[in-house]
Amino acid sequence: MTSEVKIPDPIDLDRAEEARLRRVAGLAAQRTTPAGEYAGFESVGLPELPPQTERERQVYTLEEGEMLVNMGPQHPSTHGVMRLVVKVRGEVVTDIDPVLGYLHRGIEKLCEEATYTTVLTYVDPMDYLSTMHNEHAPAIAFEKLYGITPPRRAEYIRALVVELNRIFSHSLMMGFLALDMGGITPILYGFINRDEIVDMLSAISGQRMLFNFFRVGGVNWDTNDEFLSRLGTWRGNVLKNVEMSERVMTDNEVFRARTIGMGTLSGKDAIALGVSGPNLRASGVAFDVRKAHPYSIYPELEFEVITQAGGDSNARYLQRLAEVKQSIHLIDQIIDKMPHGPVQAQVPGIIRPKPGRAYAAIESPRGLYSVYAISDGGPTPYRFRMRDPSFVSLQAIPKLMPGRLIADTMAVMASFDPVMGGVDK
């Protein structure tokens, strides 16, 4: 049974433009918000809402002997603002309710009123530790909508910066994991690694963290001398740095006691929950978007999908360590194979793709990050939807934690590596 969707066929551009103008005019007639009032506060035709659930009214029923502990939006753990309402019996957790939304910035709605290039700047602060991945997926989706392919050198540079981003995101995760358990040294090592890579990336993109580097049709700037010299220096040191932080943590007695056997997630549960990325591969399922549905130049690179057996926090840590080494190996191949050529396709400043729909999924350090974009023929996307992996992985926490101690809650959460910017969009 087909649906009657009013998005016109790709052939009829004039009708698309006319429909769009009609829609804009119709909406503009409603744009009479007097100053000081919430825009859109009284939405037209709200459905009848279901009665507020008990949790929504923030009323939690406690059994006998239980206590409600609020690990509030500000807490010493470093993932960002998330609130966990934890029901404990003594020190043992019986139920966890994560309350999200403390960082919801309305990025999807803002992107509907921004041109396609501006959208690539709006998505940067979503998952702020893996900014290049945040931009990669929308860039691929918009290129599918517009119908162009970026030049090969641009694809290689994209893959290079994306793998660099993956390395420093993983090394920060390892630092945060130790920090949430009380160890201060690995986070300092992680930030040293991050600063080296970020200085390199700032030489190529001009920004330290929210790199505004990708464009529809390629990347913004080509590599320059400073970037290449820093890359060479970094490549000479990186294995030693990785080994230094590995030596502090991997065989550490306290670390092993606190991560082995904690938060064991089986492969079937992980797939049912939607967990992806290193968390899923640490539970034994070999699902890597770079191999499952290859994009960019990954078909030309040689690498294997790494998995661990076990599915506990230690396995997730070892998985990320192995992926750092895999990324270094990939970077070596990319540097060997990088061709010459332009770095950006000839694309106008404001692109108006034909009406259509596009879906692009990439492998971000936290899992499968995907973008679903709908275009209506105008300069702004009609609907821009991002699926963030940390958002979906957080559902594993209420499943894993009951029966454990409170102190393990933060450690297991750190091993899932959520980033609140992505969770809350």
């Binding site: 087909t2 409603q30 744009r31 037209v44 949790r55 939304g101 699926r387 809350d424």
Partner: protein, 170 residues
């Protein structure tokens, strides 16, 4: 059905989504075991909604997109949390942002906005304000309103001449 270079698209009506997705997941030849995304689209103040599922299978090279059409006046859709538990947060987000109600979801409540928020932000009839002064949380002493600036504190650093000039102009 509609195909692109890497996506196959199927459109169904909203009340059949559970049956269709179950067949897609359980049939050993199709084997769409991974729910990649569950999104909602609003086609306009007078149009319908659409709930879009993206699925992945290791036997097929393309993504599968299932578009389920939902009525705007009565936006009820059966929940798929029985098939994939990880759809819970997706459905809560669709409820919070679009106002689509999922029948059978045992924990349907707002996830991003405050529990007492009364609107659905991603609908097409919810308009963002043109002027920042109209946005939410317009409150105490916003920096962009010159009438609230306290110039008497500037004279410490910049000297008395500045204050006299400012007063002379304004």
């Amino acid at each position: 059905m509609w195909t692109d270079e890497d996506t196959v698209e199927v459109s169904i009506s909203g009340d059949r989504n559970v049956a269709v997705l179950q067949v897609l997941r359980d049939d050993p030849e199709l084997n769409f075991f991974f729910l990649a995304d569950a999104a909602a689209v609003d086609y306009g103040p007078t149009e319908h909604f659409e709930v879009v599922y993206h699925l992945y299978s290791d036997r097929h090279p393309a993504w599968l997109r299932v578009r389920a059409r939902v009525n705007r006046a009565d936006p009820h859709v059966p929940t798929i949390t029985g098939l994939w538990e990880g759809a819970m947060f997706h459905e809560r987000e669709m409820y919070d942002m679009m106002g689509i109600l999922f029948d059978g979801n045992r924990d349907l409540r707002r996830i991003y906005m405050s529990p007492d928020y009364r609107s659905f932000p991603q609908r097409k009839d919810f308009l963002l304000p043109d002027d920042a002064a109209d946005s939410s949380a317009a409150g105490v002493r916003p920096l962009e309103r010159p009438e609230t600036w306290d110039l008497s504190r500037l004279s410490d650093e910049l000297g008395p001449g500045v204050l006299a000039n400012a007063e002379g102009e304004s």
